[in-house]
């Protein structure tokens, strides 16, 4: 399955690389757009000392972690975005179902946007800035936590992308509301969870677990405690949370496929 995935995705990457100038411009564009986003936060912090006790380097840690995960999800998961929506509208999802291969896998392999690495590069630069400023006493466990956290975050955002696509089985058009949870979730996770009210904290910890993308990890790395009692060790639960969430999303996807009636055009 994996070798097949790389063959399909490899073909997509080669296709994108045919337009070299376009590729590099867009890569640069993504890096600049998101780079500016963090500059805005940095400018804001020249006027204010801290956000609920979190200083700019600590915010950079939160931002770098969520942004890295989100950019990786955008790179691998965009098949569930516009390409899938078009499949729904034209009824070409029929073709997917007739092939002797899992439909979920085919949609996943239908798109791979290498240019999103521009965004990843920017996110890693901000993360690098955070690590250079923060007095973290590194242990092997803490080092292991970084890739684990980024991976869990990627999987959690992937779950959201899948849920957004699945709703298309009923609505044909991708609901814009999902943006509030994907882009909005990424924006929300750029700041400490403790600044939000009870409703937002509960929803984004226990229903749509976007807070698990970075907040517990940041608590653990910084040796901080959450004012509402979320334990820092919950950082180690993030992979489990991500796995549960993506399994639910896949389950929802299977329900969607079984309800699928073609566009009939």
């Amino acid at each position: 399955m994996w070798s097949l995935y790389w063959r399909l995705v490899g073909a997509r990457i080669r296709a994108q690389m045919q337009y070299k100038l376009s590729f590099w411009l867009e890569l640069l564009g993504f890096a600049l757009t998101t780079g500016l986003e963090f500059s805005v936060v940095a400018i804001l912090f020249t006027r204010f000392p801290s956000l609920g006790g979190w200083h700019i380097a600590e915010i950079a840690l939160l931002y770098g972690l969520t942004e890295t995960s989100f950019s990786l999800t955008e790179m691998i998961g965009r098949g569930f975005d516009a390409p899938f929506e078009i499949m729904m509208q034209r009824g070409t999802f029929d073709t997917v179902l007739t092939r002797p291969l899992d439909g979920f896998f085919q949609v996943l392999a239908s798109e791979f946007q290498l240019r999103r690495l521009g965004r990843t590069a920017q996110a890693l630069a901000v993360l690098g800035f955070a690590f250079s400023q923060l007095p973290i006493s590194w242990t092997p466990a803490k080092l292991l936590l970084i890739p684990l956290s980024v991976l869990s975050g990627t999987v959690i955002y992937m779950g959201l992308f899948i849920i957004g696509a699945t709703i298309c089985f009923w609505t044909i058009k991708a609901p814009e509301v999902i943006n509030a949870f994907t882009f909005g979730g990424n924006a929300l996770a750029s700041y400490p969870l403790s600044i939000y009210n009870r409703l937002i904290r509960t929803v984004f910890l226990f229903i749509i677990p976007v807070a698990f993308v970075n907040y517990p990890t940041a608590l653990l790395l910084l040796g901080r405690s959450d004012p509402y009692g979320l334990p820092a060790w919950s950082a180690w639960a993030a992979p489990l949370v991500a796995l549960i969430f993506v399994s639910i999303a896949r389950g929802f996807w299977h329900i969607g496929v079984s309800k699928y009636t073609s566009a009939g055009s």
Binding site: L36, I43, P175, E176, A187, P192
Partner: protein, 262 residues
Amino acid sequence: MRLYYEIALRSFRRAATYRSAYIAGLLTNAFFGAVLSFVYLGIYGAGGSVAGLSVHDAVSYVWIMQSLISIGSGWLSGEIMQTIRSGDVVAELSRPWSFYGYWMSRAIGERAFNLLIRGSLTYLIGFLYFDARLPTSDDALAFTAAIILAIVVSFAYSFAVNLSAFWLIDSTGVMLIANITLGFFSGFLLPLAFFPPALAAVARALPFQAMAGLPAQVFLGQLKGAALLWALLLQAFWAVALTALALVVQRAAMRKVVIQGG
């Protein structure tokens, strides 16, 4: 004139038809509004005033910006660009009306709807849950003038950027840069008052604040008397200048189309 009114009216109705689209848009705007409000509530902490803005002002500013997104203050629509890329633009160019006037009427109709329904409902959420400020009747009147000028400026800018597609086959990159510049220098992402002095001076010399920052300041009642008059005159100046620029770009583009043989 009657023709353009009818075009605008149809565009208004079209925008009203896609109910689920604007409700979804409204919820997304409100969500971002809530997140940013919590950021300001947290960052101001005990209170006080920073760069002339109280926490109450800053939160209201957030909601004004979220309400103005759908009238082109935050980013641009690539609608005209798509018709150029697909070639559909030929049909619109052959019709017996002004190409600029046609698209502007469409934009005005759609934005009027977005402002009256989507924008005001977004602001209502900010008012109910985050105590966003309501303007005095004088400020509201001045804001109406400021917002009309803002729409004219932002449409002209958007038109000129979209028409770059006549020269570039793929103007996604131009659009991206145009959007970044708009969001940053207009005060959409952050009030210009928070900018470092040198950067603020650059922003104030550019046309972008006429599309978002100035109307927001008017709404918050920060500009009175001569300052208010100056802001409206500045907006009017940019409205004329950018419209002229857009028409020049259109002329050049039309020549280009003829050279290509349509």
